[in-house]
Amino acid sequence: MTTTTVSTMATDFQTQAARLPRHLLSAADLDRNAAIEVLDTAERLDQAIAGREVRKLPTLRGRTVVNLFFEDSTRTRISFEVAAKRLSADVINFSAKGSSVSKGESLKDTALTLQAMGADAVVCRHSASGAPHRLAGWVSGSVVNAGDGTHEHPTQALLDAFTLRRHLIGPDRSAGAGLDGRHVVIVGDVLHSRVARSNVLLLSTLGASVTLVAPPTLLPVGVEAWPCQVSYDLDSALAGADAVMMLRVQRERMDGAFFPTVREYTRGYGLDLRRRALIAPDGIVMHPGPMNRGVEIAPAVADGDGSVITEQVANGVTVRMAVLYLLLSGGAGVAGDGRVGQVEQGGAA
């Protein structure tokens, strides 16, 4: 498979891609096969592009991808932009800073505008949970959730799973593999984290066991029903873990009585060198960024052995290429099984 050309890849994918829903709104939209398909596709795209002088594939030529960002996120927007451009799609960056309400134009009117412009895919980042779900009911193209409020960020989970698989399974043996039996610890503000929600869903789908660690104030009511373990004790949770993922502590949480002081938070839930040593010898350290160095993660850990934080960023481009590829050229983006899309359209009628 490593020498497969782009044109035969396309044929392969067309039969397999029917498993992908029309939109990628939640990590729960992906069953195990679909998730592995995205990761395998990312590996193959990475290999296909690595051997090229011009780091570009013609796959999405003539297709339009709109990056619709209602919330500042330079990293995620650029990642999607690079991914789309490497697939030769036309990219439009539509930055609607602030909420639709404060901007004056409603989300629906924005959606209808994009629809009129013929967007094949809309990559949506929004401060309101569920905004991409709403959008999916109003546009005919595929919608990719690039982070909605405190809900989900499914492509972040995919890039994390991709990174985990490369390190814990190995790139040579990862094709078709899940993360069965691997133990991932996610630490921090789970309550407000879209990264945590998507990762719990996706990593458990892939067979990993996930432990969430946070002070009780930063865990949502109902977390006991999630497919994961929950702990308040970081030291014991880290013992022998294959990976630890540190979540960013938002500045506003520090003022919201979720914990007494930053110092106390760091003492209980920060990853320093001593705690770093508790995970498995070949375990890895992850962070979705941007980091608060010295708060949730010590600089020596962030920059030290087993830290894959910058690699996560690189893998983000690869995985997003795979997502756009599968949604837009797999046939799923045009008709697909419409699993999510039909529900949304019915609701919006």
Binding site: S99, S100, K108, S129, R197, V221, V223, A225
Partner: protein, 458 residues
């Protein structure tokens, strides 16, 4: 405003004052009995009606097989006028009420300006009279601007032409315990009642939906049950302490029902209402992120729904009140967090109650009359409504086809807004005819009089 004008002009077109003989209807779904209506009252019942000398000239309405109930009374309606006429007006809201079988509605004061003075409540009262489809009884705000800091002139509203007896800051809680105590005490002077929107504000910062498994999954900020229950408990204790009447608006949790039951058992003068949507819908609906399911208090769990039904059947909850909350389209066709909370209710309430309570065997039609007419009229101190179906009583009545089934279509509702959570849902029972003081406001399920809604539905 054109809507007002056309309705105002046609309120006289509802038909001349003429006796009406209702044939074959079954009061309370029990034995059939003819009813003769004249002069705004029930003149005679049963054999006395058909044999009455006035029955000869009477217009005969065939009610064969229909259930006859006292006209419904809604303790909790948002008519939006003044200030929110893009969502609803007194005219359109009154029409929706009549079509839903109502003969009286209590209009909540969260208008613009707030109904916190005699002037505004009299305006709403007058608009209701001009429309003439239902009796519109204004509710006055407890505090100035509903800001929760200073009591509004409650006595002025009580002694105004609107004769306000129910006071509420609905939409917001009278959270300050001292202010709540004073309000409860003060309205004793004119047998008023404070209708509390029970929501501890600090526990519901940025709240979007019921706090539980679903909110955690959806990443929507939680509105915990305890935020309602803490206020219900506190207010019951306050009402005890000062010997006043408390009414709990839109009670939504199993825990609140337990608190009210306990308070009633020890003699507290507390009453409570539940909305139709809390009797039928649960928080899982939010998974669509469609804000048509966003409401305050939020949809709770299936366990709460079951408990609320039981509490209504047992009399712990006294009344069903719609919390009819029309919203303009742009306030619902948006992100969940940006949407305004609230649902249409007037035209679906009776059917929802039948679905949740009658078909399940929890209430009979006597019970429906009690929770949708008699108790709300009594709680709100509204004379002439919620009266027995008997000779000499006001002729406020509704004829219901209990066997009919219909499918809710927002576009077919007469409200200016479209935010029904029951779109596409098939429901039992249909209002056929509504009488307000002997005059039909609704005939054959449609507004009576050809011009009543001209300009309203356009």
């Amino acid at each position: 405003m054109s809507a007002d004008v056309s309705v105002t002009e046609t309120s006289g077109h509802l038909g001349p004052e003429r006796a009406v003989l209702i044939r074959g209807g079954a009061p309370y779904g029990e034995d059939r009995a003819d009813l003769l209506l004249a002069g705004g009252a029930i003149l005679a019942v049963g054999a006395d009606a058909s044999g009455h000398p006035d029955a000869g000239d009477a217009e005969v309405i065939d009610a064969d097989g229909l259930v006859v109930l006292p006209g419904l009374v809604d303790l909790h309606t948002h008519l939006r006028e003044p200030g929110g006429e893009d969502a609803e007006t007194v005219a359109t809201g009154s029409a929706a009420a009549a079509l839903g079988g109502y003969t009286a509605v209590f209009a909540m004061p969260n208008t613009e300006p707030t109904a916190d003075t005699a002037g505004v409540v009299e305006q709403v009262y007058r608009l209701g009279r001009e429309v003439g489809l239902v009796d519109v009884q204004p509710i006055g705000a407890v505090t100035v601007g509903r800001r929760g800091t200073q009591l509004a002139e409650l006595a002025a509203m009580a002694t105004s032409a609107a004769a306000v007896r129910v006071f509420s800051d609905d939409g917001d809680c009278v959270a300050d315990p001292l202010l709540m105590r004073r309000a409860l005490e003060y309205v004793k002077a004119f047998d008023g009642v404070i209708a509390q929107h029970a929501q501890e504000p600090r526990l519901t910062l940025h709240a979007q939906m019921h706090e539980g498994a679903v909110s955690g999954r959806l990443g929507l900020a939680g509105w915990p049950a305890v935020a309602e229950e803490a206020i219900v408990a506190r207010d019951c204790l306050l009402a005890d302490h000062v010997g006043s009447r408390l009414h709990v608006c839109h009670l939504s949790t199993a825990g609140s029902a337990e608190l009210v039951a306990a308070a009633k058992a020890r003699g507290t003068a507390v009453t409570a209402e539940v909305t139709p949507h809390h009797l039928l819908l649960a928080d899982e609906n939010a998974a669509s992120y469609d804000p048509v399911f966003k409401v305050n208090p939020p949809l709770r769990t299936d366990t709460d729904v079951t408990a609320l039904r039981s509490a209504l059947a047992a009399g712990t909850i006294d009344a069903v009140a719609t919390d009819h909350a029309p919203h303009a389209r742009q306030d619902k066709e948006c992100e969940w967090a940006a949407a305004r909370p609230g649902m249409l209710g007037l035209q679906t309430a009776l059917s929802v109650v039948v679905e949740a309570m009658v078909t399940t065997g929890l209430l009979d039609w006597r019970g429906v009359a009690r929770v949708m007419s008699e108790n709300p009229a009594r709680i709100g101190g509204l004379a002439g409504h919620g009266r027995p179906i008997a000779a000499g009583e006001p002729a406020n009545l509704v004829l219901v086809d209990a066997d009919a089934r219909w499918t809710v279509r927002a576009a077919e509702l007469v409200s200016l807004s479209r935010n029904t959570p029951f779109e596409g849902r098939e429901l039992p029972a249909r209002v056929v005819t509504t009488f307000l003081r002997g005059r039909p406001t609704v005939r054959d399920g449609a507004p009576a009089g050809h011009h009543v809604l001209a300009g309203v539905t356009a």
